[in-house]
């Protein structure tokens, strides 16, 4: 993996190396291109554009394990780092327990905010396997949702926490 901070330009595009959803990848990105645009151009459509200004959280990905707003980052800033998108977390055939918990708790309505919210929940549960309700609400605070009132989403995160704790006692 290339050293962070060293970037190479080829034909006006910047060549970056990163770990994307667990795989080492090399991408050519525009100098002003956001990480969100670059990911979506790569076919990873799970991160959504809701405001393009860092206010809604629909584009949340995990950057080195921490929630990050892909619309505010330059793609080049992902050079040398680890990016996890919703596609890297699980798929319908093998969903991650957090994804399954969102489905089981009835927390998915239109679903536009859900990939970002699931990843915010992942970052929380990685750090705190047994969060109380205020901790869950703080962790989801950057992910706006207009459909659900957050009731079932908070339930979903706590359900996922219980299930994950059960798996690794």
């Amino acid at each position: 993996m290339a050293k962070r901070g060293i970037l190479e330009a080829v034909d006006g595009m910047i060549r970056i190396e990163l770990r994307l959803n667990g795989e080492r990848r090399e991408l050519r990105v525009g100098a002003a291109e956001s990480l969100l645009e670059a990911l979506r151009r790569e076919g990873l459509k799970g991160a959504k554009k809701g405001c393009d200004s860092g206010e809604c959280g629909s584009c949340t990905v995990l950057l080195d394990g921490k929630p990050a707003l892909a619309c505010l980052l330059f793609a080049a800033q992902a050079h040398g780092r680890e990016v996890l998108t919703i596609e890297g977390l699980g798929a319908p055939a093998r969903p991650h327990p957090i994804q399954k918990a969102f489905v089981d708790a009835g927390a998915v309505q239109c679903g536009y905010c859900i990939p970002g919210m699931v990843l915010a929940a992942k970052a929380l549960l990685d750090e705190n396997p047994d969060p109380d309700e205020p901790a869950v609400r703080r962790a989801l605070d950057g992910n706006l949702c207009r459909c659900t009132g957050y009731v079932k989403q908070v339930e979903a995160v706590r359900l996922a926490a219980r299930r994950l704790r059960g798996k690794r006692p």
Binding site: E55, I86, G111
Partner: protein, 791 residues
């Protein structure tokens, strides 16, 4: 019991998994923008910076020369077709006052030009190089000023249609009166108050977006985030003078709508760009553009003058509703009428009058928004109910109980006021209001806390408030929905319907209805919805109609398919069709013999009397059964800062049979929280020149998970005879309660009556410190000559 009347459900009334939930949670579900289309151009729009201006000339020569620009359009390049963007049934009850690109700017954000280019940068450069020569005109921003003589006339073109009084900026009017005695002659108490609600926006997380491309035969393929695919096809065809058959509209997954996507805003102009550029084009509004140039909740000025006898009987209900429609008349007649048609039947009065005016101003355009006028109407009504109870010395709950409509009762309002036309006569079938109130009182521990909060003297004071409301279930004798079902040889079914799932869960709920009739599980029903080439017609998702109207269409289609299955099974099992039941994916005879549905499917495809088992059905409702709800709020008011905190909130709702209880709860939860933030923070702010000052989530505050107060939804089951398996609507009603319930709770806490939401700290503190007990709104509006007719 016949299958259509059954109440021991196996799929319906169960919280089965939402059919698209897993794909959405895994990021694999496809929204409008989640496809890659080769050669896709970026479409962008140019907006007027002036609130009111005539366009003398638009010079696009320089813009056309920007490298990578393939199309630049102004009103001169498009057919001059006046239309409404309101995605309503045809003919739409909204004035035809809009051009896809305007020749006169009527608000800051009116669209004057469109471009398509290879890159977003080139598109922006093209917009920057369009020169518009504006003749700036005087503008009018106040609802009541706009209807005064001498106000600037906003629509002065001869080719607009169905504007009742363009000279006085009136884009819709409706008057109605039932009088059984002299007005106020039997009233012991008369209360006369004005209320004023604010501009608000839907804030669906997915902004408006459309992609127009071409299929292999050159037909237009419109992939769009819409609540009304069939209306979008019709309106686009009309606006561009194209044959309807040359357009196919596909609605993929939708990131929320709440009414905003009942507008056909982008499809015609994006199609025009694609046709001009001969390339696929995408128009995607930014969040800022969504705020500035899409649609809003109509603000209302409402006057209620009501009378009651000492015993608490309401005698007179006089309602004036002034609906600010902004620059165009989208949903002007219907939203204004629903502020009365959904509220006035709630409490029966001998004398009832409604005076409604929708008014043009140089503000952003009002559109459909969850609650649809009833939200604004109930803020006024449920505040008024508490004021009246106070003046009569009655308990506000008992006062409501004495007056609200009950099962078996009708109202002259149902017949007189429909949506944009006469309504239908109906009697209330199911009504769970008694239980809604009882359960809500218990959940919030009303009586216990009322005692506790007597004689408070601290800085922070607590109070309780309630609100009761109703809505409708679809538009009777207007809205039509259709569905078709075909059977596969493995015993699964394809359910095709026009009904539009915008995140509401209607694909799931409608599949549950089909599965219940066909005796299969939800996984055996494969749903395809909202594709104008492949699915039958449906008006779309609005007016709380989908479960009730589309649900009945699906149920009818499923019953027909069931009959066909029974005919084949009868032969296999050697039984009479009427002796066979469908359950667990099998046809079970009276004798106990049974066969799998796959055997029925295989037989019909390959063996005897070969035919495709399939049927379609349509439904038009003859009633619009109201769901009922009672909300209870507990607040704490800081008398030093004016801050209002909601401590607890109980929202009960009678939606008949909840087809999917978890989804029904979720719908109501979302409506309630939207209502709470509409009551406390949400508000579009404007500069003196009419530009929106807070077009972002930083400036326009919707609640986050951490902001949300504790609240709970309580479903109160009833059985509505006209609904599919007893169901009524649930999606809108919950937004009507928070504003009045919180206003009443604030009054209970600190004795201050607020007439103008949102209840921000400044307003609450200002009212607390004010020497007079009434807000300036009462004296300021009350003098206007426009209201004299109602004296």
């Amino acid at each position: 019991m016949k299958v259509e009347d059954k109440r021991d459900f196996t799929v319906v009334n169960h919280s089965v998994e939402k059919v698209d939930a897993l794909a959405l949670a895994c990021g694999t579900a496809r929204f409008t923008d989640d496809v890659d289309i080769r050669g896709l151009l970026t479409g962008r729009l140019l907006y007027s910076p002036h609130a009111h201006a005539r366009i003398r000339r638009i010079d696009t020569a320089k813009a056309r020369k920007v490298p990578g620009v393939l199309a630049v359009l102004t009103h001169e390049d498009l057919p001059r077709v006046r239309h409404t963007t309101a995605g309503q049934g045809y003919p739409e009850p909204s004035p035809y006052d809009t051009l896809a690109l305007s020749e006169k700017a009527r608000y800051v954000g009116d669209r004057v030009a469109a471009v398509a280019a290879e890159t977003p940068e080139a598109a922006q450069e093209a917009l920057d190089n369009i020169r518009v020569d504006y003749e700036v005109l005087p503008a009018v921003f106040d609802t009541m000023e706009a209807i005064k003589a001498g106000a600037p006339v906003i629509h002065d073109e001869a080719d607009s249609k169905n504007i009742p009084d363009a000279k006085h900026n009136i884009c819709a009017k409706f008057d109605f009166e039932v009088k059984q005695s002299e007005w106020f002659s039997e009233a012991d108490v008369v209360v006369d108050r004005w209320y004023k609600t604010q501009w608000a926006q839907h804030c669906a997380l997915e902004p408006h977006i459309v992609i127009v491309s071409f299929d292999e035969d050159g037909r237009l393929l419109i992939r769009t985030s819409t609540q009304v695919p069939f209306h979008a096809r019709r309106i686009t065809a009309r606006v561009l003078r194209l044959p309807l058959k040359s357009i196919r509209v596909i609605k993929p997954r939708i990131g929320g709508g709440f009414g905003s996507k009942q507008e056909v805003l982008l499809e015609p102009v994006c199609a025009a760009l694609a046709l001009a550029a001969r390339r696929p084009v995408k128009i995607e509004l930014s969040r800022r553009e969504t705020f500035v140039s899409s649609r809003t909740r109509h603000p209302f000025v409402i006057r209620l003058k009501t009378g009651a006898r000492k015993d608490g009987t309401i005698t007179d209900a006089h309602m004036e509703a002034y609906c600010d429609n902004g620059a165009y008349g989208a949903h002007s007649l219907t939203v204004m009428m629903c502020s009365g048609s959904h509220t006035l039947p709630m409490y029966q009065a001998k004398n009832t009058r409604f005076v409604g005016r929708s008014v043009y101003t140089n503000r952003p355009v009002g559109g459909a928004y969850r609650g649809f006028g009833a939200t604004q109407g109930f803020f006024a009504w449920e505040s008024q109910m508490d004021i009246m109870a106070g003046q009569l010395g009655l308990d506000p709950i008992e006062f409501r109980r004495k007056n609200y409509i009950r099962s078996g009762e009708g109202s002259p309002v149902f017949k007189a006021m429909g949506e944009g036309r006469e309504g239908i006569e109906q009697k209330i079938g199911s009504c769970g209001m008694d239980e809604c109130i009882a359960k809500g009182l218990a959940a919030i521990r009303w009586h216990e806390k009322k005692k506790l909060y007597k004689n408070q003297s601290g800085v922070k004071r607590r109070g309780l408030g309630c609100a009761c409301m109703m809505q409708g279930s679809g538009i009777p004798e207007v809205d039509m929905a259709a569905a078709s079902i075909k059977m596969n040889e493995d015993g699964s079914f394809n359910l095709h319907m026009g009904a539009t799932d915008l995140g509401t869960g209607s694909d799931t709920v409608l599949a549950q209805i089909a599965a219940e009739v066909l005796g299969v599980g939800i996984k055996d029903v494969i749903v395809l919805s909202s594709d104008t080439d492949l699915t039958p017609f449906d008006v779309g998702a609005y007016a709380s109609s989908t479960t009730f109207i589309s649900g009945n269409a699906v149920k009818k289609a499923a019953l027909k398919v069931r009959e066909q299955i029974l005919a084949v099974a009868a032969r296999i099992l050697d039984e009479k069709p009427e002796d066979i039941e469908l359950a667990g994916g099998r046809a079970v005879g009276k004798s106990g013999r049974s066969c799998a549905l796959s055997e029925v499917g295989n037989t019909s495809f390959y063996y005897h009397d070969q035919h495709q088992i399939m049927a379609s059905a349509s439904h038009v409702a003859t009633s619009s059964p109201p769901p009922f709800a009672a909300h209870f709020a507990e607040v704490e008011v800081d008398t030093e800062t004016g801050e209002v905190r909601v401590l607890d909130y109980a929202a009960t709702v009678d939606c008949g049979t909840a087809i999917n209880p978890a989804l029904a709860e979720g719908q109501n939860d979302g409506a309630v929280l939207n209502g709470i933030s509409y009551a406390l923070t949400e508000e579009m702010l404007f500069s003196p020149a009419g530009a929106m000052l807070n077009p972002s989530f930083r400036g326009y505050k919707i609640f986050s998970a951490a902001d949300a107060p504790p609240f709970k939804t309580i479903l109160v089951p009833t059985y509505e005879a006209d609904g599919p398996f007893g169901a009524k609507s649930v999606s809108e009603i919950g937004i009507n309660g928070p504003q009045p319930a919180i206003a009443n709770a604030i009054y209970d806490a600190v004795g201050v009556r607020l007439y103008e939401p949102p209840f921000t700290p400044e307003k609450v503190l200002g009212a607390t410190l004010s020497e007079t007990s009434e807000s300036s709104l009462q004296t300021a509006v009350g003098r206007l000559p426009a209201t004299e007719a109602a004296e």
